[in-house]
Structure formats: C-alpha cells, structure tokens
Amino acid sequence: MIGNKRAKKEGAPMKCQDTHILRDEKDTFSRQTVGAYFSCHLNTSQAMVEADSFLHLARPLGPALPGSQPTTAPLNVIIQPQAIFSILDHSLRRNTDSNTDNERVIGTLLGVRSEDGQEVEIRNCFAVGHTETAEQVEVDMDYQKQMLQFHLKANPKEVLVGWYATSAELNTFSALIQNFYGGQGDGTWPHPAVHLTVTTDAGKEIETRTYISAPVGVTADRAADSAAFTPVPHEIRYGEAEKSGLELIAGAKDDKDRTASVPTDIEALERQIEEVLGMLERVSKYVEAVIEEETPPSSALGQFLLNALALAPKVDPEDIERDFNNHIQDVLVVSYLANTIRTQIDLSNRLATAALTLGAGDGLGGGQTNGTGTEGRERGQRGGRGQRGGGGDRGDRGADRG
C-alpha cells in the first residue's frame, strides 16, 4: 500500500530524502518517510520557541477517500500558551497511585485549522483520564466524548485537532491513542491528528514536540497499534491581548513565593520607565565599550541604533507647546468633571436619604400627621435642592484645589 503511494509521489520535485525510523517494541517494521523538502522556517517576532531552520516533511499519507486528492502540503502547528499552561497544570495533578504506572498524562487538544489545512492552531485542551500498565492502556473514551461536547458548547469554533501527552516517549500505546484520535468518526479524519508532547520531568528543561502520523502495518491488527510519527514544526505564539497577562505571569518567575500582584496603572508605568532606562543604559554602555575599542563593533547594531535615533520626530516647539496644552487641558477637564459628577451624585444620594429625616418622622402610613409630614418632606426637598447647589460648588472648589 505505502509503497504504491510513494511511487506515485516520487514524481514531485524533491530536494532531499530524509529517513525517519520509529521502532516500537512489537512492530519491527521500519518505515521511511520520503518526499521531504527543506524550507526555511521564519519566526515571527512573537514566537516563543527557538526554531531556526526547520525540516518540513511531507505529510505521510493516510487512507484517502477514493477519488479525493490526498494533500502532501506541510503542516505547521501553532500553540497558544494557555494550552501549555493547562497541560503543565494537568501534569501536576496526575494520580500518584503506586499500582499504576502513570508517569504521563494525556488529554485532548482543541483548536482551529486554517482553511487549506496547512496550519493548526492549538488553542485549548482538556485532560482525559487514562491508566497505563505494562500490558495495556485504558483511555476514558466516554469522558473524552462528553468533555468534547461540553467544550464545543462553549467554543463552537474550536474543533478536535489531536492529543497531548506529558512524556517525550512514543510507544505502542502512543500509536494506539494516535490512531484513535486520527480515526474516522470521532477523530480528526480526514485531517491528521496532531500529537503534542511536553516533557515534565523534574529537573529537566521543558521540551515540546509535535507530531503527525501515518498508518503503517501489514495487517489490520498491526495497523491498529502502530503509526509512523513524523515531527512537524511548531511554535508557541500569543496574541496582543495575552501579552500583558503573560508579562504579569512571567513577572512572578523570579519570586520566591511564585506570586505577583496586579500592578496599578501608575506602578506599571513606573516599571516600564525603569525598564527603558535600563535598556538605554545597556545600549550606552555598549556604545562606550565600542568607542573604547573593548568590544568589537557591529555594523548591524550600529545601523539599528541609527534607525532608532532617526525615529525621533522633528516638530516645531510651538506645535508641541500647543498640542501639549490642548491635551493636558482635555485630560484635566475630564478628570475634574468626572470628580465633580461623582461628588454631585454622592451628595444627591445622601440628600435623598437625609431629606426624610428632616420631616416625616413617623413614616408614610401615619394618617393623622400626614399633612405636616408632607410639608416636612417638601421642605426637605427644597432644602435639598439648595444644599445641592452649594454642595456642587464645594465639590468644584475641592476639585480645583486637587
């Protein structure tokens, strides 16, 4: 089967041949993935993982629908940090029973697929319980199905894209689970299922890897528990909105208690100004070192700094003065007005409750004293209005002073 397909593909332009061999204990069948080509993988400025040049392998072919053209386009995986965070959290919460050998935990990945199917963005994930022993693996399929439904209710745009495990090891069980996730019906078929591994061994770096797979095996039995895993490039990317959150979370990384509090606006500003000052200092130190000929000069860096300096705008002093005055007036007026309104409303609230204490001592249903009660209230009301005017003035003056 595979041989045939490969033969068909051989016509396509190929720059190199790469061999990926995955051996699992039962299946000694070694597979070759051919049809690879190099492509330089460029990072966007938001990428978290160092990914220099990457080897893009043509996607191994799965069972194709008769008549449909199987796609061999490269696949790129983007992981949002919250998925990783979620996986790490799950890993911390694994069962530590001694009778099962649950070193890793698994879960389902959700996300979106680009229209041409070349890019998969992992946005979300949830944990799925499983037990693994030397002989067998049990995954709670009902659980996975129900959770998937729950998630789809809340995020209708996200679809099942694959699964994760917290160990870098790929074994027979991995293949079994992979075939389940990539399968027809509940799986990701006809798209390949993405397998993400995140190592969480104590004392080691956390490593992430992504794979897709192709079916292998000569008999149906064999095919069920084997798969050819092909590594695919991935990057961790986050959006503008998450930036400030991530920054805050990262702010806690050097803290002993691993906590950070949410800064106020002015604190955040202070911190950023300090950071800019630190950067300026670093740059001027470097420039000085270059002038003193202690550090080798770099034309690229020089050019970069020159460009940055050229960004300083050239504006007329009068323009600046005018804009500055306009804007500062705007800011102060709005701030002043807001505070005046606050004071006014505060007063109005107090008077609304205070007006009654002036008059109608014995409430609304008094009956006999109704006449005086009304008068009292009216007096209170009038007094209230007068006082409000005065109060407003007082508020104004207070704000002026402020």
Binding site: I249, N349, T357
Partner: protein, 367 residues
Amino acid sequence: MAETLKDTPLKAVQLEGLVVLKIIKHCSQAFPTTATGFLVGMDKAANLEITNSFPFPTVDVPATDGHHDNNAASNLAAAAPRAKANTTYQDEMIKKLREVNVDANNTGWYTSANLGNFVNLNMIENQYFYQKELNERTVAIVHDVSRSSQGSLSLRAFRLSPAFMNAYKEGKFTTESLQKSNLRYQDILLELPLQIHNSHLLTSFLHSLPNPVPTQEAQASQPPTLASLSQTPNPLAPNFNSLNLSIDPFLTQTTDLLLDSIETHHTELNNHQYYQRQLAREQAKITAWQQKRKSENASRALAKQSPLPEDEWQRLFKLPQEPGRLETLLNSRQVEQYARQVDGFAAGVSGKMFAVRGNLLPGAGEG
C-alpha cells in the same frame, strides 16, 4: 439561605497563571460581547485559590446576522452565570473536572468589562445568586479588556458586602430601609486584593524561555545583518503599551460612559420626583377627605347621629409605591468607578505628557 456566614471572611484571592490566560483569552475573543465563565478552586482559610476556569456555553442568539444582536448576545452572556441551563452544565463540568483531579469547588465566576462598566444589575444579581445559592465564599473576577489593551492588565476581584446581601435579600431599597441599614453605594462591593500565582512547573517553563536581557555569551555573538535584529524572537520582551500616549480614545469613551450614567441618574431622579409629587397629591386628597369627614362627624354629633368611621380613607386611597433606589445606588457606584479610573489615567498620562514635552523641548519644562 445563607444566614451562616463563615467566621473568617475572605481576605485575598489567588489566581493561577493558567486561569489568568484562560480568562484573557475568552474575554478578548468575545470582545465586545460580554463573556462570562466559571471559576473553580478551593478556599484556604481567608485565602481563595482559583486554580481553573471554564467558559459558559455561548448562547445561540436567533440568527439575525450582523452586529445588531450584539446587545442581545451581551445580555444573554451577562446573565449566563445564573441561568438555569448553565447550572446543569456547570455541575456536569465540575463532575468531569473532579475526575482529573482538578480542585472542583465552586469559587465564583468571571466577566469581561469595557472601561470599567461592570457595575450593573446583572453583575449584582449574578454575584448575589452565587453568594446565596451556591457557596458563600465566591468572588466575581472582572477583566477589563479595553484597559488591558492599553497597558497593564486589569483584573479585579469583587464580592458583595454582607450589608448589601441582607438588603438585597429583603428586596427593599426604599429610602426608609436605606436609612435604617445605613447602606451607601460605597458599601455594595468589596474589592479583594488579587495575586497571581504560578506552579513550580510553570516557573520552570518560564525560565526555559529566552530572557529579555541577553546574557554575556549572547552579547558576544554579533548579529550578522540588520534584518536578523528585528527578527529575534523574544517572548518576554517588555511590553511598552503603558508608555503609549493615546489620550483621546480613552477620554471620549469615558465621557460617553459618564454621560450615560448621568442620564440614568437623571431618569431615576425624575422617577423619584414623580413619586413624591404623586405622594403629596394623594396625601393632600387624604387630608381633605379627613377634614370633610371630621366636619361631617361634627355635624352628625350635633344632630345626635352616630359618627362615621374616620379610617375609611385607607380603603379609598392608595399611596403610590416608592421606586427602589437600587438602580441609583449602582449607578452611583459606577460613576465612582469611572471617576477613579479617570483619576488614575490622568495621573499616568500627565506624567507621560510632561516627559514628552521635556524630551522634545529641553529646557521648556522649567518655564
């Protein structure tokens, strides 16, 4: 009924890094529609630890296309935390999460906000529902999407004060009851200090990311071209949104919101005045009736007839209902929120503006 308030009141909220990201993601995706979700975790004495969260199912707004139903969707989403259908969803989800060892205790809910416009009846009702029905020790986390995009992250934790809970339980917000309970708008919400907490694994992950300040070795290697400099991926590079000097959008939006609040206040005030006029009119009528009855009785007494009852007015006249003052209270709290926000903004922005002027016009600052 939640008569038994726990002895130790909640003092602080601790948010797991994961939850922060989940909330940000959900809220910014749903923006400008309100997004709401559920928080789970556990409470440790006076500290509430929130360790996970999940969004509430999106509500299917009848498929009229476009942005016209944005408001409808917003309202539905804002009401989601106390919607019946979601309670089952929530229970099921908690059950599922418990199976994978997540701390599956209800600790509250979260909502998104736009420039601090979160103090409204929906929020109060939700939080009341949570504190009363589900678990007394719950919080509402408010994530302000617009303010977070301007720089520092805006996440706040709120609870309803016990005094307000009592007043709301009775459902009476008349002038009289307010006088008695001495409830002011400042006392509706209690804000709790919020902390972000990372797990050990997460800390280790964050350390494995490249550091924004290059190390000595990295500095030793020279960048080959200009292009490579602008490409260097640096995930934790400082975010200078706070230094951004965009004043006008914030000011216009805030003033718009403030004007809305004033309008609400005005409506409420009018309602109240209308009620008072109505009341005065009714009472005048009652007095007139009573006087008439009195003189009638006097003449009847002269004619040796039995006097007519003098308290019939209670059946004949009906005093108007006093409109509740809850809306006014909330509105006042909202205005306070805006004012504080503007204050904070003005503090930051005037500093920035003086800095800019000082930079562009050296020496002008002294004048």
